[in-house]
Symmetry: D2
Subunit: 347 residues, 4 copies
């Protein structure tokens, strides 16, 4: 990969590559059979989201014929299911009308300070992880190798820091407006939700797409439904039920097919990790025994973002398989992922 | 207000009011000269965002002719300007490749545990306030009166709690897709940015709209530009410069004109508080000496959300005054505002 | 209680009471058969710790004949057992040598800024509850009644606030230097640790004291050993084992005997709550169905502090039953308890 | 230093060194003219606190003749002065009687759940740095060199981690009971407080000790008074006043004299950093341009702990120069320092 990039840089071939790729379905750099990779220049932090253009955004919006909006976010609180390796959450009433009036630390809030009408306010202090609930993994979330490199060869030793990532943090993810496709594997397999550990195959995806009569075209956001999020409820507090299904997901074969054969812009699902787990030896060994080979493939190698814990229940109920997809992340510098987001699907 | 609601409830007039209001510009409940108020039923937590319909969303999207997207979010970090009454922010590297490999607390991350390829990850712990950077104030953010009531008569004593708001928290704010209008008062007044404390008048708004050749139609998101956000830079760290302009904004007169005469769906600006400050006696005394009379009027009385610290610099540079506006909030239960958001304007 | 205080205040009897009490074992206000109560004046935040004097401290130190010190603290971290109603803990590397040198946010830390030798530092951000591990409950920790009053009639509505307690916070607890007595009930009952829910009776305490040949004299810190802390280990991570014993403790009868008959200055144990649980009806109904009647009795009514999760294993192993006890709390304003403390017993 | 240790280890001379040192004033390893160093074995995390013995603790307690206790802690809150490189503090009411009763998340707290008497509680969530207010720096707080080593050659790359230090964290600091000496330089120089940047010299220390008629004997905790803490008040909120004096302190010459000639067990002061600053070239260049050369000398090289922000005002007012010193740290694993502590001086 490094060699390829060095070659490209040395010969000024980058735009040439882009133009060649453009032969494939109007994409700038995607090559069928290869996908992307580190093809956007040595300083790039955006990855394949560079494919988005005014034209692609406009085309996505043109898919909307009704104006109906589906909220794909799952509400998060202190009791919500999360990967146990992440920090817990507390949303704590920081200022409250009662507390403001008792504390009397700000003169303008007191009757003596003029506030006879008793205006006050609520605000909260949030303590939480940047990688929970409905989330988009930034390209620096996962590292690989003894040199701890991430997308485009950036290294943790150089671009990590005490206050988060200094390359490919969440602020580098542009607003995402694109065609979206939902692949309802749970319904295709005729189950409420896929069982934990189930590897979604290419055949499953092809079958479901055929049943839905929709296709993944290059540049589409692809959301794969396992059915897990149907058990989220108000706040994801039924950990046992969620855990029983949360490890269903795609494997390397399906990920590669979606990226390299179909040109998927983003891969997402309704689980915490997109990929099935634990990884079977053939997937794991592709990346030296990795516990998240699909993440390494997508984020580190391909520059393809990963969306997790999307609420696809509304789309499934209404059999909506193609839509305009809209997502913006938080704007918190250093964070590795957009967290507790609310993407929207419109039709 | 209470009397009105009681009357409406007592006589089953709510839908009738809605139908009467529908005579005004296709809105459900807006009445010219009155605006909204607590007209959506006693359990309502959504306020005037109930006006949005499939048709209004579709109409907003139809405004897009180019597909160009403007990110209206201001990136936030530990050094960013914020109202000093809010809690500070730290984004702290929680897990890092270096730390994961040193800590050795998770067997599957170690070479002995199979991870010979050295996959690892970055994540952050976030400690921050729910009311900073680009934000939308929920209807329970501000309370008023000795009974600490907020929108629709909900009382803090009943609906506050240790873990944030239990009514009108941020998850009750639906995805906002609507026509947007930017009123560039700074350019109209021929200044880089309005001076601190400047009250934007109705005449200012009318003059700027005339100069821009655009109007506020009922149901439009209205963003008023003071120019303050031009000094935000990478992360809002120039506190002195920002503070010198941040207190410019609209007063009660302009707020009422926008809501009651023009039917503005949301009022926003590029400052931390939307309204000018400190409030002059005539505004302050309208609400018993309140330090934020415009907030009380909009959030508590009218059920109109407030957008703060929007980055309007790109729109101003391109002279974009009418656009499709798109915003989704965080999905964190109990929080009073969408925080560190990235709204998008599309044309 | 209020009536008594009003009477005392009205007639200036406070010091008289003190003097009368002084007849009992050299104490200032303790009355055998009654204990203390709200007897220290209407502004008092110290409770019965007012009994400590230069003379009592000196006498305690004179008990030390060897100079051996026992650390009674239990180390706390993110994995430690705690009452589930408290907030979780994260100790997060905030600045690290690696992070400081990567982040480059402070010029004086860089080689270019003069730091050629590469000095750097570690510090941590702590997120935790103020009521965990080895702790002393302040007199405002527990409230009772519809008026939410705590010790001395202070009311939460008046003296709570957004930033913790404004009366009887931890900074009002003076350094505690006093005679200490450990009552090893586990050894007396010939078990490794008492079973969960076991109520330690007066007979148990009397029997153990007799076996140990030591007595509780007025003004003594009393630490009751259930054996639970023997399962704490490095960091209290064996939640199941700890939970199986943690609910053993004293009931109202034993608490009253220790305070009213023996004049105990502080009551402590090696569990998270001192008292057995769940409370039997006779104990619970003494305080309107309270889930922590012993806490209400001690903290609210008597002004006696409560010590929890003391590590008594070293004292038990060495059969040390009488010692000089030394404790200082954190100095964090507003906090309701000294938390993650390390009291010391010296003999 | 490494060479010395290697030699010692290779020849088994460690205890021999100890015995030789014992000739110096009854200390185990201290050598007059040299101090300590990495002399306690390759796994040692305690440093020169290994000098404390039952006999030395008993001797310290024997200094107490009155029983009077001085609290040397400075109360800390969200507004307190701190080194700006540390994270800020919030003490946030986590559970309050009002919030518990409004939130209704725990059935046993409700009247329906049996709690007719209305028992409730206060607790706080703490977010703070582990290196603020009255604090003792652990031996791993400061690192030096391109290899980021700390005391005893432990390296950050090996012994740091995501959750704090894994060597020499605060739990390795034993309870400190020792003779204490306060050197009141401010009074000796006849000022309220030394000016910022002032370097306390050996002559200053000798002069003050002579005036006080007291000496530093090997094994004494030494607290140097600049007068800065007299401006702390309730919570250290007068940042300007504190900052004007806070940078007074000892330099390398005084530190070496205290450690190598006098055998000081701990060096402390009433400022945030003990040492004067910014360091003059002769001090800074001794450690490659270090911004904290005295810290490097004490913590990294000598294994001598550093005490900061002690409240010495009470001792100064009463002219108490010799006392029994008592300190225990927090018991929070991974933290690099005891923070917001309350040491006690007794006479």
């Amino acid at each position: 990969m490094e060699t390829l990039r060095t070659m490209i840089l040395a010969t000024g071939l980058l735009f040439l590559v882009g133009e060649a790729a453009a032969q494939d379905a109007g994409m700038k750099a995607w090559v069928k059979g290869k996908g992307w990779g580190w093809v956007w220049g040595p300083q790039d932090e955006v990855g394949n989201l560079n494919e988005m253009t005014d034209a692609s955004r406009l085309a996505a919006l043109r898919l909307v014929s009704q104006g109906k909006a589906y909220d794909l976010g799952l509400p998060y609180d202190r009791n919500s299911f999360r990967w146990p390796g992440h920090s817990p959450a507390e949303i704590i009433s920081f200022r409250s009308p009662h507390g403001v009036k008792t504390q009397k630390d700000l003169p303008f809030t007191t009757p003596e300070g003029g506030n006879g009408g008793g205006t006050a306010w609520h605000s909260n202090a949030i303590f939480m992880n940047d990688n929970v609930a409905t989330q988009i993994d930034g390209l620096g979330h996962i590292t690989h190798g003894p040199d701890n490199h991430f997308y485009n060869g950036f290294k943790a030793d150089e671009w990590g820091g005490d206050f988060g990532l200094r390359k490919t943090d969440v602020t580098t993810i542009p607003p995402i407006i694109a065609r979206g496709v939902m692949i309802d594997v749970a319904t295709y397999k005729n189950v409420e939700a896929l069982p934990g550990g189930y590897e979604i195959t290419v055949a499953d995806l092809e079958g479901a797409l055929r049943a839905q009569n929709v296709d993944v075209t290059p540049g589409s956001v692809v959301l794969v439904r396992t059915g897990t999020a149907r058990y989220w409820g108000e706040n994801g507090s039924d950990h046992a039920k969620l855990a029983a299904h949360d490890t269903a997901g795609i494997g390397l074969a399906a990920a590669k097919w979606l990226v390299e054969q179909k040109g998927a812009l983003i891969l997402g699902s309704d689980t915490s990790s997109l990929e099935y787990g634990p990884a079977k030896p053939e997937d794991s060994q592709a990346y030296g025994g990795s516990f998240v080979p699909v993440h390494v493939y997508l984020l580190v190698e391909q520059g393809v973002h990963v969306m997790e814990f999307n609420n696809l229940e509304g789309l499934a109920a209404d059999r909506v398989y193609e839509f305009a997809y809209f997502l913006t992340t938080n704007a918190i510098r250093g964070t590795v992922a957009g967290t507790a987001l609310r993407p929207v699907a419109m039709r």
